[in-house]
């Protein structure tokens, strides 16, 4: 009997290990593939030059336009989304009561939005763009990507604010603080590391999404210089290069993918390090 229970235990532990391995393994497989295929094609010119004529046919140039475009787009859309998410999550967690039906509806809507494919956001952004009478541009892309990452950011911040002990809010109110003062001076401080993480996850998602910028950002060989002009992005640069029939251009596509991956890695590793600075005063 004991032997059988031990066998069952062993079986399920093995299953868990296999599942974990699949996830971690695929991550490393992807990163290694990008490195192997991209590293030989990467060079300084690629990082500091804009495409010269015929870059996508294998001629001279670089992808600085897409690197800068993506960084600008990623940062601005995350900031825009943050400005909308923060009020929402504070409203949900501080102002509405736990059993509020309204809060339930809001959370449900965000879960639904979470599941909508990014190409649909792209199409929605496109109609919005038409409606506003602007062309494919940095601005249109910022708005579209901000909408895309809004549910991710809101829901992850929401989960973090839910972990704040009820007593912490109570004691702040007991000292005569208003809800706003409690939110800004106590809750924000307590949850800052988590909020930063949620922000960076959303940034990573926003900077790497291709479908939503396909119609809205357009593409250009120029460096970004105006909110109202098309902007190049890394995901589309990767897409265009991988879609060509020329092996050397495809290799450059992998190099561009490598650049994008490294940007995201730097951001997440850098944030882990800087987080330590902010967690000093957080209550465990």
């Amino acid at each position: 009997m004991i032997k059988r229970r031990k066998l069952v235990e062993l079986f399920f532990v093995s299953l868990m290990k296999v599942a974990t391995f699949i996830v971690v393994g695929s991550l490393f497989y992807i990163i290694i593939t990008i490195f192997i295929k991209g590293l030989p094609a990467i060079n300084l010119a690629m990082l500091i030059q804009t495409p010269k004529g015929g870059y996508y046919l294998g001629k001279e140039g670089g992808i600085l336009n897409a690197i800068l475009g993506s960084l600008l787009l990623g940062i601005s859309s995350s900031l825009l989304a943050l400005m909308i998410s923060l009020p929402i999550v504070f409203y949900l967690n501080i102002y509405l009561k736990k059993a509020s039906r309204f809060a339930l509806i809001i959370r449900f809507s965000f879960d639904v939005l979470f599941g909508i494919p990014s190409i649909v956001y792209g199409a929605f952004g496109f109609t919005l763009m038409m409606f506003m009478g602007i062309q494919a541009s940095l601005l249109a892309a910022i708005i579209t990507v901000a909408l895309l990452i809004l549910p991710i950011m809101t829901r992850s911040m929401d989960e973090i604010l839910k972990t704040v002990p009820f007593e912490l809010k109570e004691i702040s109110y007991a000292l005569g603080a208003t809800k706003l003062e409690t939110s800004l001076k106590v809750i924000l401080r307590q949850t800052f590391p988590g909020i930063l993480t949620a922000f960076l996850i959303s940034f990573g998602r926003g900077i790497s999404d291709a479908a939503s910028v396909l119609f809205t950002a357009g593409f250009t060989d120029l460096l970004p210089y105006s909110l109202f002009k098309p902007v190049a992005t890394l995901p589309l640069a990767i897409f265009f290069q991988l879609a060509t029939p020329f092996p050397e251009v495809q290799q450059r596509g992998y190099a561009a993918a490598l650049v994008l991956t490294i940007i995201i890695l730097i951001v997440s590793i850098g944030s882990r390090i800087s987080l330590k600075k902010f967690t000093r005063q957080v209550l465990k």
Partner: protein, 256 residues
């Protein structure tokens, strides 16, 4: 020893959903005395305490009838400014609930939100109240360290200093020595005895000996009912109700 009542509770009923938590409570809490609210767990002690500073407002599905007067104003009246009411009361929890900031900022939090900006004044306040709770010597060199690094006993004294820095009239303690070691607990108890001169203290406790050591006035709650209230020596030496007698002697209360 007829003292003036600081908090008057009149026919207070509290319901959480369909659960009737406090049943028709009428109490007078004397000014500048220590009032101990005693009774077994789940008898509504904490709920009663949270009515006094209206933290009860935060609960879901709560329904309330009756009145509570603090300084003769009805605190549940619409015209009552809840922020002013809460400023009048310092609160201590079972587990010291520090704020996620430095020792200094913890004490300065109350005065700051109530509008004090002068840094010199703030520093004086912080020093004064940390001395008041005998914490100053232990922390004066690390005022700007996180309060989370203090021991639990020190944290509870910090919480007391933070409450007092708001210049309240009333100190509410919800089993404030519950999480503390005996020595830290004794420090808090002694502090309460000193504070009695200037503050009205309401102490929820289920440690009978603590109530005996500290209380001037005792309120005994059982299953949401007010069983007995009166001056401490009377209630402890000569309880009128059989339930109080059983509870004080450590027996099960057999429902009548």
């Amino acid at each position: 020893m007829e003292a003036k009542s600081h908090i008057k509770v009149r026919n207070l009923n509290v319901y959480y959903g369909s659960a009737h938590i406090l049943k028709d409570i009428t109490i007078d809490i004397p000014e500048k005395k220590i009032t101990a609210i005693i009774g077994p767990s789940g008898c509504g002690k904490t709920t009663l305490l949270k009515c006094f500073n209206r933290l009860i407002d935060l609960q879901d599905n709560v329904m309330l009838t009756g009145q509570v007067f603090v300084d003769d104003t009805d605190i549940f009246d619409n015209s009552t400014e809840v922020i002013q009411l809460r400023k009048k009361m310092g609160l201590l929890f079972q587990k010291p609930q520090i704020l996620p900031m430095s020792i200094y900022d913890n004490v300065a939090y109350g005065p700051r939100i109530h509008g004090l900006k002068n840094n010199k004044k703030l520093s004086e306040i912080v020093q004064h109240y940390l001395q008041e709770v005998s914490l100053w010597e232990e922390v004066k060199d690390r005022l700007h360290d996180s309060a989370a690094r203090l021991s639990v006993g020190q944290q509870q004294r910090l919480c007391l200093a933070r409450g007092l820095a708001n210049e309240p009239e009333i100190v509410l303690g919800d089993e404030p020595t519950y999480a503390l070691d005996p020595i830290s607990a004794e420090k808090i108890e002694k502090k309460f005895l000193e504070l009695r001169k200037n503050y009205t203290i309401v102490l929820v406790t289920h440690i009978l000996r603590q109530a005996k050591r500290l209380a001037d006035y005792v309120v005994f709650l059982y299953l949401g009912n007010l069983i007995e209230q009166g001056p401490a020596e009377e209630v402890f030496s000569n309880p009128r109700d059989s339930k109080t007698q059983s509870y004080l002697s450590g027996q099960f209360i057999t429902s009548a």
